[in-house]
């Protein structure tokens, strides 16, 4: 798959990466005191050396092509990244030699707030030491913040047969559960994922991890259900375009094939757009100069020979909706587009609410009347 780092054309450029030490303008806006107090949701990437933490971060959030991760250097100190996704998110990529029991390690700061601890285990390697580390990390984090979610990535499974994958997951699950039970900590819940940067599994896993950090998830799901049932859509995903993480889907079950198709459509459309969209032809523009914020008008259609249609619509410059529907239902494209615009408006309202606090919507409407 092509490695690409500039998707600007279709949806406008986003600030791809912001040094976490320089607060962004938005946060220091004096008129929005509430925004300052909100801690951004945070993903902590932890695990032994060479387990694949930095590779995951590069592949999912920076579009690095998986085989290029061979050149990624071992992380020597904590790297914090503010990823401006559709939702503000921080990713903390820890060095493998991190010791959570070291006195200089500030557990309160790291584990506090709305946080997911993503623990990466190299499944191609002997994992006993990793499990030991997982145990100490989990117990420490839980003590500081009982609300933290624990996500265990059994990673690099591309080297494993299907049977071996299942056996590994069972074994890891068993061992860590036993250990937690022995310490009477069996109230701690861990989620497990089989992942590899060489296929969709890593995106699927990170999507689920991030969804747990989204407080409005139920609202999104609900809006998507309404859209689907009113428009004859069989399945819909709301994707963050930069990362291909989906932040919500309707409540019908996710079948991997539809998910992969929708996710691959994002690649196709944005790769093509990054070639033919006018901005990208001017290579001197840095991604952060943001010349053309997406206006939510872009769309794309892919037809398949089995009577299915993939329909993509831009929601804003970060988000796109991808729908899978039957071609006969797509004949009523006008209706779908109308429903989409209602959906888009509702989604954008949710975001305004979150960014600017509950007052924002009131402001919006009082402006238009007064």
């Amino acid at each position: 798959m092509a490695a690409h780092n500039n998707y600007g054309a279709f949806h406008g450029d986003a600030e791809d990466e912001v040094d976490s030490h320089s607060p962004r303008g938005q946060q220091s806006d004096p008129e929005l005191p509430q925004a300052q107090e909100l801690q951004k949701p945070r993903l902590l990437l932890m695990g032994l050396r060479r387990s694949g933490k930095s590779s995951i971060e590069r592949v999912v959030f920076h579009k690095m092509s998986p085989n290029e991760t061979l050149f990624v250097e071992s992380t020597s100190k904590l790297r914090k990244e503010s990823i401006v996704l559709s939702m503000d998110l921080e990713i903390w990529d820890f060095p493998g030699h991190l010791d959570v029991d070291d006195p200089s390690f500030d557990g309160e700061e790291v584990f506090g707030g709305s946080t997911a601890l993503v623990f990466v285990i190299d499944a191609q390697d002997d994992y006993l030491e990793a499990l030991q580390r997982l145990y100490t990390t989990v117990t420490r984090a839980h003590k500081v913040n009982p609300e933290i979610s624990f996500e265990v990535l059994i990673h690099k499974v591309d080297g494993l047969s299907d049977d071996h994958k299942i056996e590994t997951q069972r074994d890891i699950h068993q061992r860590i559960s036993d250990e937690l039970a022995d310490a009477q900590l069996d109230n701690i819940h861990l989620s497990f994922y089989l992942t590899s940067i060489y296929d969709h599994s890593i995106y699927e896993a990170i999507s689920k991890v991030i969804q747990k950090l989204i407080k409005q998830l139920a609202t999104f799901e609900n809006l998507m259900n309404i859209l689907c049932s009113n428009s004859g859509v069989e399945k819909a995903f709301l994707f963050d375009i930069m990362s291909k993480v989906y932040i919500a889907t309707d409540s019908s079950p996710v079948d991997m094939q539809s998910y992969e198709l929708c996710s691959d459509m994002i690649d196709v459309i944005f790769d093509v757009s990054s070639i033919y969209g006018p901005d990208t032809q001017d290579a001197t523009l840095s991604p952060s100069s943001n010349p053309n914020p997406g206006n939510g008008q872009g769309h794309a259609v892919i037809k398949l020979n089995n009577g299915m249609v993939l329909y993509l619509r831009e929601v804003n410059r970060f988000l796109s909706l991808v729908c899978l529907l039957r071609e006969d239902n797509f004949e009523k494209q006008g209706l779908i587009d109308y429903n989409f615009r209602c959906f888009q408006e509702a989604i954008l309202d949710v975001f305004r609410l979150r960014k600017h606090g509950p007052g924002a919507l009131k402001d919006k409407y009082s402006h238009s009347y007064g």
Partner: protein
């Protein structure tokens, strides 16, 4: 029309990998499972309907190489239209690779002196990005020197990116009969559509056959990028038992259409005039179908 294409180079350089990706719908990762090729594997690939590529994938282990150069010399090197010689850029036996390459060049000179020769400096992904140009130029110069008096065309390639499509598009382009004729028709189609450019792809490989560009574009690698992108997508469609049929992307200031043109080709039409409706472009494509079908069948004279 059958054309003999030799695929040679040392064992492990990636010959079977690239053939499987271009012609047999492998994804790059799957090639890790390929075993070494024993002797020569023949395959006939139908391309554009009546052109048949008769591929000779020649296993590169030394015993086989010695055999090609000596005992089987005439059999292997006779009637060759194209020789594709693959070098592993990371190979540690540089001089030995060159020795075999020069032996093959000698054999070609004797048996098929009009053959076109393409040298692929392969596995470029293993070279740090900043050094790729430099490494490529060095190798190209050396290979050219060693191939004299025959001329060669060199490409830096990797199965992990679009460079493979660039090389193979050029290779097949050199084999297509009447390609200029096709180009002329594509050019008028581009004018009729008022398009920025139109590009013709072979249907199964998605290699670029021909294009007409009316508005300059800065990215010279764009066609092979599109080949790669769509080919990947076609593969993911087939995983869900479906086939890619057509697509349209539209934003404020551009629209791109990719659709079936003839039974053997897809066309891509790139528009930047926002006042032209999608429907108009789709009608133009539909109208062009039978015309291009007849060109392909040779029913429209030059």
């Amino acid at each position: 029309m059958k054309k003999k294409v030799l695929l040679m180079g040392k064992s492990g350089s990636g010959k079977t990998s690239m053939r499987s990706i271009i012609f047999a719908n492998y994804i790059a990762r799957d090639t890790r499972r390929l075993g070494a090729t024993i002797d020569v594997e023949h395959s006939n690939v139908r391309f554009l309907g009546n052109l048949v590529l008769n591929l000779w994938d020649c296993g590169g282990q030394e015993v086989f190489m010695e055999n090609y150069i000596a005992a089987q010399r005439d059999h292997i090197f006779r009637n060759v239209e194209v020789l594709i010689y693959v070098f592993d850029v990371e190979s540690r036996e540089y001089e030995r690779d060159m020795h075999y390459f020069q032996s093959c060049i000698d054999a070609i000179l004797q048996n098929s002196k009009d053959a076109r020769i393409f040298c692929l400096i392969h596995k470029m992904d293993l070279v740090q990005e900043e050094q790729r140009d430099l490494v490529f130029q060095e190798r190209e110069t050396d290979i050219k020197r060693r191939s004299a008096p025959l001329g060669i065309t060199a490409f830096g390639t990797s199965i992990w990116d679009e460079t493979l499509y660039k090389a193979w598009s050029s290779i097949v382009y050199s084999l297509i009969p009447n390609v200029r004729h096709l180009e002329a028709h594509l050019d008028s189609f581009c004018s009729i559509c008022e398009a920025d450019e139109v590009v013709l792809f072979e249907r199964t490989t998605f290699l670029v056959i021909s294009h007409s560009t009316h508005k300059e574009h800065a990215d010279i690698h764009r066609f092979e990028k599109v080949s790669n992108i769509i080919k990947q997508f076609k593969l993911s469609c087939s995983k869900s038992q479906a086939q890619f049929q057509c697509m349209e992307v539209r934003a404020d200031d551009f629209a791109v259409f990719i659709d079936v043109l003839t039974p053997n080709t897809y066309v891509m039409v790139v528009m930047s005039d926002p006042t032209i409706q999608s429907a108009a472009t789709l009608i133009n494509i539909a109208a062009a179908r039978s015309h291009f079908h007849r060109i392909e069948q040779g029913q429209i004279a030059r």
